[in-house]
């Protein structure tokens, strides 16, 4: 199966040789290694947090100590020594930068290497008339650059680091923080509550359509540093916001831990679109190193007719444990999950979603595309739950797996719990292999082997890719080595 071996090579160019593996040399300021109450205090003090926040963190830390690491996911990794990790690492700088000119040129250089989309590079370079994307870049643990804040402010949109929000909008943060993902929700979420170092806060007021797409770049830089970011997005009644998250991490031999929490709240008639391109370092060809990505992402569709849409393209990380979910509380609310997950070499991904239908006439759509290559394991795990009081619920789920090698695994684990007889639940699943016939057909039309695989994979992912905002789609396609589908006609 020479063709498949070539296909394999193509996938490895997408995921294998990690081109973002560079280390920026900036003296960083770290907390002592390991986790203790003192470290939690250190982080809280570094962030200049009020007393209530410190108390909240300490309670979370106490709760976490009594919890156990989950082991139900189809992933295997050596036991993590939580005392062998630095929980805080900040680029050293006296004061926060007031403008981009003050940002360390090495950081900007890093962003350039990251391939932050052209539009945003233009923004960073201050090009006249450049498109509007606001970037809040999280370099290791501290937000270093926030653009367009003024313009957003005019629209009444708050877009800032979560640390700033805790100081400037404590009431809002108190009201919504952990309102979607409770402190004790799970082991990694509790850990995040105790030690999160930065992240993003967004508030879009009533009736406001956010005038630009908001974007945050996360990046893990220092050795042995877990990045624990925290994101909270609130869309008030009738508001709309589209949020883009891109992640990369440099190449390291050791495994780095990443345990983020993202909470979204949509009130009546509000809509939040959350898109992720995740290409954390996946480890080398022999499965050495790479990021452990244990993330809790959840949205609360609190208001009636609210809508949340998660779109993710996951190509990185050694181990992924991630289930962006929607709690559909408001009547008529809508939850969507569109996912492409690529695994190669020894990567393991256990990812999917939960759609919890609480309100009447709530609807959800799940489209998951898993692509496995090498010796990787790729699992879709999803829950569709309909509570007894939720009348006329509809769900449509489609899980497709594409196998590229003969040594990889694709697994689909759907859970469906329905307690209301009026619900209509549909589930479709397919598993297929990139076929020699397809490859040869493409090659006999002039495509080289890489282009052929890219084209077939592109077609396989089409249902998901079309939900990404355009500039993100371009980046995602680059990641998948795919030319833009549908750009003609």
């Amino acid at each position: 199966m020479a063709g498949t071996a070539e296909a394999q090579k193509q996938i490895s160019e997408v995921t294998g040789d990690y081109k973002y593996g560079f280390v920026t040399d900036i003296e960083s300021e770290r907390a002592p290694k390991g986790l203790s109450e003192d470290v939690v205090r250190f982080i809280s003090a570094k962030k200049g947090e009020p007393e209530w926040m410190l108390d909240w963190r300490l309670k979370a830390y106490a709760a976490w100590q009594k919890m156990e690491e989950p082991d139900w996911a189809r992933v295997n990794y050596p036991k993590i020594d939580y005392n062998d990790i630095y929980y805080y690492s900040a680029p050293k700088k006296k004061d926060g930068p007031k403008s981009l000119d003050e940002v360390d040129p090495e950081l900007l250089e890093t962003y350039a290497k990251l391939g932050i989309p052209l539009r945003e590079q233009e923004v960073l370079a201050g090009v006249q008339g450049s498109a509007k994307v606001a970037v809040d870049a999280v370099f290791d643990s501290v937000s270093v650059a926030t653009t367009f804040r003024e313009e957003l402010k005019k629209a009444g949109v708050i877009f800032m680091s979560i640390s700033e929000a805790i100081r400037e909008y404590p009431d809002m943060v108190k009201k919504y923080l952990a309102s979607v993902v409770p402190v004790r929700d799970n082991y990694f979420a509790a850990l995040n509550c105790a030690v999160f170092s930065d992240g993003t806060f967004v508030y879009v007021p009533k009736g406001v359509r956010c005038p630009m797409e908001l974007s945050t770049y996360f990046r893990i830089n220092a050795e042995n540093t877990g990045q624990f970011e925290r994101t909270l997005i609130v869309a008030d009644e009738g508001a709309y916001v589209s949020y883009l998250e891109g992640c990369t991490a440099p190449m390291r031999d050791e495994n780095q831990l990443h345990a983020a929490v993202v909470e979204l709240v949509a009130l009546d008639d509000a809509e939040i679109k959350y898109s992720t391109v995740q290409n954390w370092y996946p480890g080398d060809k022999n499965g050495k190193g790479g990021i452990y990505n244990f993330v809790t992402k959840r949205a609360l569709c609190k208001g009636k007719n609210s809508k949340v849409s998660w779109t993710q393209v996951e190509t990185g990380s050694a181990v992924t444990w991630k289930y962006p979910s929607c709690v559909l509380q408001g009547d008529g609310s809508v939850g969507e999950f569109y996912s492409v997950a690529v695994t190669n070499n020894y990567q393991q991904a256990d990812t999917g979603t939960k759609m919890i239908h609480m309100g009447a006439n709530t609807r959800s759509t799940i489209i998951s595309k898993g692509i496995s290559a090498g010796k990787s394991q790729n699992t879709y795990r999803g829950l569709v739950k309909v509570l007894s009081g939720a009348d006329n619920v509809r769900n449509y789920t489609q899980c497709d797996s594409l196998l590229v090698s003969s040594e990889c695994g694709a697994h689909t684990v759907p859970y469906i719990e329905v307690k209301n007889p009026s619900a209509q639940i549909e589930h479709e699943a397919t598993t297929s292999k990139v076929s020699e016939d397809q490859l040869f057909y493409c090659r006999s039309r002039g495509l080289d082997e890489e282009e052929a695989v890219a084209m077939i994979v592109n077609g396989f992912c089409k249902d998901v890719m079309q939900h990404l905002p355009m500039e993100f789609a371009v980046e995602a396609q680059k990641l998948l080595g795919i030319s833009l589908e549908g750009s003609v006609g």
Binding site: A2, G3, S435, E436, D437, Q438, F440, Y441, C442, R443, S444, R445, G446, L447, D448, E449, E451, M455, I456, N458, G459, F460, C461, K462, D463, S483, E485, G486, S487, V488, G489
Partner: protein
């Protein structure tokens, strides 16, 4: 000079010899037909010319315009000007016909050192080709061959051929499974491709396509070899007497 020159070709598939010493020469401007029963090695020959993996050439040579074809990758052969029309065109879900065609055309252009064709120019070209071959323009937006009828798939092959405009078209049982109207359209497509500077190799079971596309040379293939060659009347003779008697 011959465009295609095959000498003493032996091809094995999974260690079984299928083509057993085949010679064939095709000049520019010519249409050749290879006829033969199932298992004679006709499709193996077509796939070997196009460069499919798993078709191992154990002996012999194939030259295309003086170049060693066997040294080239499948996509490079397309770049050089060879097109294989499939007996069973393959479905590619999620990829629109338009995107497929444009990617194919631009890959070939790049191989030839040309710039990519602009979207506008490409659309003009494809619409014209689709109209010539009586293809519903909506088919261009559909996924490659997905849900196409047998006739639509073959028509789609003709559109691809027409857009890529090869020097040598090898058409593997392009006439199979077609009703009479579809057969006529496909034949028109083939005839449109017939020029002084192009050549066509038709592979077929039946004589009926040859009523619409008149071949210059007809070859009879049995058990991996060409056993007899002649003019277009040979096809009629085959139809009448059967392979055993003619050979």
């Amino acid at each position: 000079m011959s465009m295609l020159k095959i000498k003493d070709l032996h091809v094995s598939v999974a260690d079984k010899e299928i083509v057993k010493g085949l010679d064939l020469e095709i000049k520019a401007g010519e249409v050749h037909a290879i006829m033969g029963l199932n298992g004679a090695g006709k499709s193996t020959l077509a796939n070997t010319i196009a460069g499919r993996d798993d078709y191992t050439v154990t002996k012999g040579t194939i030259e295309f315009e003086g170049k060693d074809l066997l040294a080239l990758e499948p996509h490079e052969r397309v770049g050089e000007g060879i097109f294989l029309g499939f007996q069973y065109p393959v479905e590619i879900p999620g990829v629109s016909n338009l995107n497929f065609l444009r990617t194919a055309l631009n890959s070939v252009r790049r191989y030839r050192g040309l710039e990519d064709m602009s979207a506008a120019e490409f659309m003009k070209l494809v619409r014209a080709k689709a109209a010539e071959l009586k293809m519903d323009p909506d088919m261009l937006k559909r996924f490659v061959n997905v849900g196409f009828s047998g006739g639509e798939k073959k028509r789609n092959e003709m559109v691809q051929m027409s857009v890529l405009d090869p020097k040598l078209a090898v058409l593997d049982e392009t006439d199979s499974g077609l009703d009479i109207d579809a057969l006529r359209t496909v034949a028109e497509g083939i005839n449109a491709q017939r020029r002084d500077d192009t050549a066509i190799l038709l592979i077929t079971h039946y004589q009926r396509l040859l009523s619409y596309v008149q071949p210059d040379v007809v070859h009879v293939m049995i058990d991996g070899r060409i056993v007899k060659s002649g003019g277009k009347e040979l096809a009629l003779e085959l139809e009448e007497k059967g392979y055993a008697d003619v050979a």
